[in-house]
């Protein structure tokens, strides 16, 4: 079970959280101006890197707040967590 650092509550067990997939994918400002391919890109297409990945989690069973976090998809090591709309910390090494 992962130990995830909620930027508001601190480190907590994974069972308290829900996963939210890749971070920094904004809802398009004008969806109607996108072609099918661009819109499909927004809905369906996500990166799946081997290594560090900025992703979203929500602390469902506690503060109920969303945040972003760096996670290494190879060994599940966590980098820094950060609140939405704050500056993204640089990719961990």
């Amino acid at each position: 079970m992962l130990l995830i650092n909620c930027p508001w509550c601190g480190p907590r067990d994974e069972t308290e959280f829900h996963y939210g997939s890749e971070a920094h994918i904004a809802y398009p400002e004008k969806p109607e101006e996108l072609n099918d391919e661009q819109w499909a890109e927004y809905i369906f297409i996500r990166n799946n890197p081997k290594g560090w990945y900025a992703e979203r989690w929500v602390h469902t069973a506690s503060c109920r707040r969303w945040f972003n976090v760096w996670r290494n998809t190879i060994n599940h090591e966590f980098g820094p967590s950060y609140k939405p709309f704050t500056k993204q910390p640089s990719r961990p090494k």
Binding site: M1, L2, L3, D13, H18, G20, A26, Y27, P28, P31, E32, L34, D36, W39, A40, Y42, I43, F44, R56, V58, T60, R64, R65, W66, N75, H76, E77, F78, P84, F85
Partner: protein
């Protein structure tokens, strides 16, 4: 040491309290414990701990447990076990023992309290405030303890201090990310063969440690040669420990077959117990040193550069003699063969570090040719390995030979066992290689080696070594097998703890629940909710009850408990704008005091929830959701508010449990409402459809809503949950003169389906757009909302999508099973197979229509209205006509009374 009585396969025996059952079996001269799983060959005790591949037994006494190694059962008075051949029986009756779980955060966790673990504790003690040290044996000391060597006091003194939790009989079964360890502690089986009341038989420990030290030690492994599986052939450390520490007697003449110096150490221990060690057969050409000298001094013959090439058995199947021949390290035999009579063959095939826990984290053990073992040398930060598991073996001894056994051909290959528990042998290994497999993972699956209860603890490294030899590679190039938790077999009850029965999942009940129980209504599970299904009169079946309830709702007045609908209080100046974006239709224009039905979609345009939302005030809405979807919807709302629209000043709070809702439904609902609430003007002009009024109902302040999920005139009375029972009782006492009838979820379903109202999750499965559900009317053209852009995708505008339609079986009493396939109009089952064009989502008998009917999703269904389809049911075909999904009161004449 006291003597206790136990039963094995129905026969009573005696043994020493606390000794392993395996020792007691040997003490009673039970060499043949079981037959092997596949080849039915006699097998006996082979090991000393969880590596045991043969002597598995079923515990019959106490809680009962299938497949437990006899090596890990401590003898107690009254223990009843029986042998098994590879397959145990699950106990049939529920386990009455208690199981617990506990959670700990510590600075340091040490896995293994052998010498290495105790040394680590001494070294780390001052640096860590909270420490857990756990070990799967009854006492600390591990290997040293089995050698009867004394553990120095300085290694023990920290164990009994306040900041150390010492757990014996506790096995770490899994190691997970961020240093999370699950361990199972066996607390009572060594105290009593019976269930001890009010005492946890096992406790599962969930431990998060800042640092973990793995001191898990090593297992001895077998050597492969023809007939290496006979009872009386044992790992040398196990044999020496049974004879020396447990004094089982049993054996008269022993031969040791070794690849390392452990065989010499064990030969000396065995010789000291009075069992005659006739020879040590060593595959190595030259050995020297103090151990060898001691062996020579005792007069034990040493046969170097040789290998056991076969064994004979007595009538029981136990070993009676062995054959020895000169052999090199590749297993090339030459020279004369000699027979040695013996009843014990002690095997020292080298040590296999217990690396399992680390490999669960995808850490690869590294091959070391000098120690002939895969060791944990590279570990992530905060995990350390010490002792044997790291490859730190006794450096004063001669290096072990890298030798795993013979690789014979023909008949001999079939009896040269690699994995004793799986009966997997050299022939299997040869066939795997012959089939072109070179990866150890493929070989494992092809041969099943390492896949049984023991997970190949004694056979894993041997398999790698022999495979390497067969494909001319080094063991390090072949690499290790993947182990997966749990490290040992664990009863589900230990993992479940007390979360059983009604505690396995929360049960949610409304404030009216006890009244429903008193009315003897059977309950239906809707998510975690219990909802009354129907309210049978005495001796009435469900069908008749539902007809009576439907009739009351359509002709008189009926009441249902609608409290389980999810309710979300949405407040803030931007609440209207927010709902416009969430729902497919407009809410910012809704008048205060009015309600509107809304549909929400995902960004993919697929319907995911619906419900009626009421504007309570300019800046406040009360949203209702489906009963099962409430939590998901609240998550959804908060996600958009937090991650996309933080500028919107809106707050959402779940208030599902705060309000009780009683719906009164039917043509006489108005009269009953007037009686319940004399001050309220209930006329259609003063209180129209989809509006709300505040009034006292039976003297309780209530919000009354003109909402209908049945098509009938209906009022939903919302009161604080405390008053739910009062209102329900008043509705029934005051409604008596109107024929008030309680109805449950089944009647609710029939009534709504007659009107073509969908249930999200029944008519939908996450692949329906509003248009698929014939709900184009609810999709706003004026504004953007979540999912809107998806309606212009080519996929969602396809004409051959599944669309909601009604189905009327040609024979009007035929009831279509829900989930049935709808196929083109075919005459035979054969023709209809694989021509399905849809499926039945809801199907009921309708009293109002005096016939059966169904809702269904059919490809391009709206264009097929008036056409006939075939529904294969069992070996019959039911014909039905496709019709509009609204079957009753299409003009909505009834909803205003």
């Amino acid at each position: 040491m006291s003597t206790v009585q136990f039963s094995f396969d129905g026969v009573t025996y005696h043994g020493n309290k606390g000794e392993p059952l395996s020792a007691a079996l040997l003490r009673n001269d039970i060499k043949v414990v079981t037959e092997s799983s596949y080849l039915f060959r006699p097998r006996g005790v082979f090991g000393l701990g969880y590596e045991e591949p043969n002597a598995l037994v079923q515990i019959v006494s106490g809680s009962g447990e299938p497949m437990v190694p006899a090596t890990k059962i401590e003898l107690v008075e009254g223990l009843v076990v029986k042998s098994l051949a590879g397959v145990g029986d699950l106990p049939i009756s529920p386990d009455k023992a208690r199981y617990d779980k506990t959670f700990k955060h510590v600075d340091l966790l040490i896995v293994g309290a052998g010498e290495a673990g105790l040394l680590a504790l001494k070294k780390e003690y001052k640096k860590n405030k909270s420490i857990i040290i756990l070990d799967d044996k009854p006492n600390v000391g591990g290997y040293k303890n089995e050698l009867n060597e004394k553990i120095p006091q300085e290694l023990l003194k920290n164990l009994s201090t306040d900041n150390v939790i010492q757990l014996q009989r506790t096995t770490a079964i899994g190691l997970y990310d961020q240093n999370y360890v699950v361990a199972v502690e066996r607390r009572s089986d060594h105290l009593s063969s019976e269930i001890i009341p009010n005492f946890a038989r096992m406790r599962t420990w969930h431990i998060r440690a800042k640092k973990i030290i793995l001191a898990t030690g090593a297992f001895q492994r077998l050597i492969v040669f023809p007939n290496n599986d006979r009872p009386g052939i044992m790992l040398s450390h196990a044999a020496a420990t049974y004879l020396d520490k447990y004094r089982v007697g049993t054996f008269t003449n022993c031969v040791v077959f070794t690849v390392d110096d452990s065989g010499y150490k064990d030969a000396l221990r065995i010789q000291d117990t009075g069992t005659n060690v006739k020879a040590i057969i060593d595959i190595r050409q030259k050995v020297s040193g103090p151990l060898v000298d001691q062996v020579k001094k005792k007069g034990i013959q040493i046969i170097t550069g040789s290998c056991v090439t076969n064994t004979n058995s007595d009538a029981s199947g136990a070993i009676s003699s062995l054959f020895v021949t000169k052999s090199d390290l590749k297993g090339n035999i030459n020279g004369e063969t000699n027979e040695i009579i013996c009843d014990l063959l002690a095997i020292s095939g080298g040590w296999t570090p217990t690396v399992h826990l680390a490999t669960y984290l995808n850490i690869k053990p590294i091959w070391n040719q000098n120690t002939a073992s895969f060791n944990l040398t590279k570990l992530p930060k905060n995990i350390e390995a010490v002792g044997y598991v790291k490859g730190d073996f006794d450096k004063s001894t001669n290096p072990p030979a890298v030798f795993f056994g013979l690789i014979p051909e023909g008949e001999d290959a079939k009896v040269s066992f690699v994995d004793l528990q799986r009966d997997a042998n050299i022939r299997d290994l040869r066939r795997a290689v012959g089939a072109g497999l070179t990866s150890i993972e493929h070989v494992k699956r092809y041969t099943t080696i390492g896949t049984d209860h023991d997970q190949g603890k004694t056979s894993g490294t041997t398999t790698i070594g022999l495979l390497a030899q067969l494909i001319n590679k080094a063991p390090g190039e072949v690499g290790t097998l993947t182990f997966r938790p749990p490290y040992i077999g664990v009863p589900f009850s230990a993992l479940a703890g007390r979360d059983l029965g009604i505690l396995s999942d929360p049960i949610r009940t409304t404030s009216l629940h006890n009244l429903h129980l008193n009315a003897k209504a059977p309950m239906e599970d809707v998510g975690q909710w219990k909802r009354p299904w129907y309210f049978p009169l005495e001796k009435e079946n469900m069908h008749d009850a539902v007809i009576r309830e439907c009739r009351a709702a359509r002709n008189d007045v009926a009441a249902m408990d609608a409290s389980t609908l999810g309710k979300i209080d949405i407040q803030g100046p931007d609440a209207g704008i927010f709902l416009d974006r969430i729902y497919t239709n407009m809410f910012s224009t809704l008048k205060v005091g009015s309600s509107r039905y809304g549909l929400m979609c995902g960004v993919d345009g697929m319907v995911f929830d619906d419900g009626v939302t009421t504007r309570i005030a300019e800046d406040r809405f009360l949203m209702t959701t489906t009963t099962g979807g409430a939590a998901k919807v609240l998550d959804w709302l908060e996600e958009w508010l937090q991650t996309e629209w933080p500028e919107l000043d809106v707050y959402c709070t779940s208030v599902t449990e705060h309000w009780s809702t009683v719906a009164i439904v039917g043509p006489k609902a108005r009269a009953l409402m007037a009686k319940l609430s004399p001050d309220l003007d209930v006329s259609n002009e003063a209180f129209p459809f989809m509006e709300n009024r505040y009034a006292n109902v039976a003297n309780i302040p209530a919000r009354i809503a003109r909402i209908s999920f049945s098509g009938e005139l209906a009022y939903e009375i919302n009161v604080e949950a405390w008053f739910g029972s009062h209102i329900w009782q008043e509705v029934f006492s005051q409604g008596k003169e109107f024929g008030i009838t309680a109805y449950g979820t089944e009647t609710m379903h029939v009534l709504r389906a007659e009107k073509g109202f969908v249930i999200v999750g029944q008519e939908t499965d996450g692949t329906q757009t509003p248009m698929d559900l014939d709900m184009d009317w609810i999709v706003s053209k004026k504004k953007d909302f979540i999912g809107k852009r998806s309606f212009a995708r080519t996929d969602t505008s396809r004409t051959d999508r599944h669309q909601l339609v009604g189905l009327l079986p040609v024979h009007n009493q035929d009831l279509l099973p829900e989930g049935s396939y709808v196929t083109k109009d075919e005459e035979t089952i054969e023709d209809s197979v694989s021509k399905h064009i849809g499926y039945v989502t809801s199907s009921y008998y309708s009293d109002a229509l005096a016939r059966t009917f169904a809702l269904s999703l059919v490809v391009n269904g709206k264009s097929l209205i008036g056409k006939f389809v075939s529904i294969p049911v069992g070996d019959k075909i039911i014909k039905a006509e496709i019709v509009n999904s609204v079957l009753f009161d299409k003009e909505n004449r009834r909803r205003d009374g």
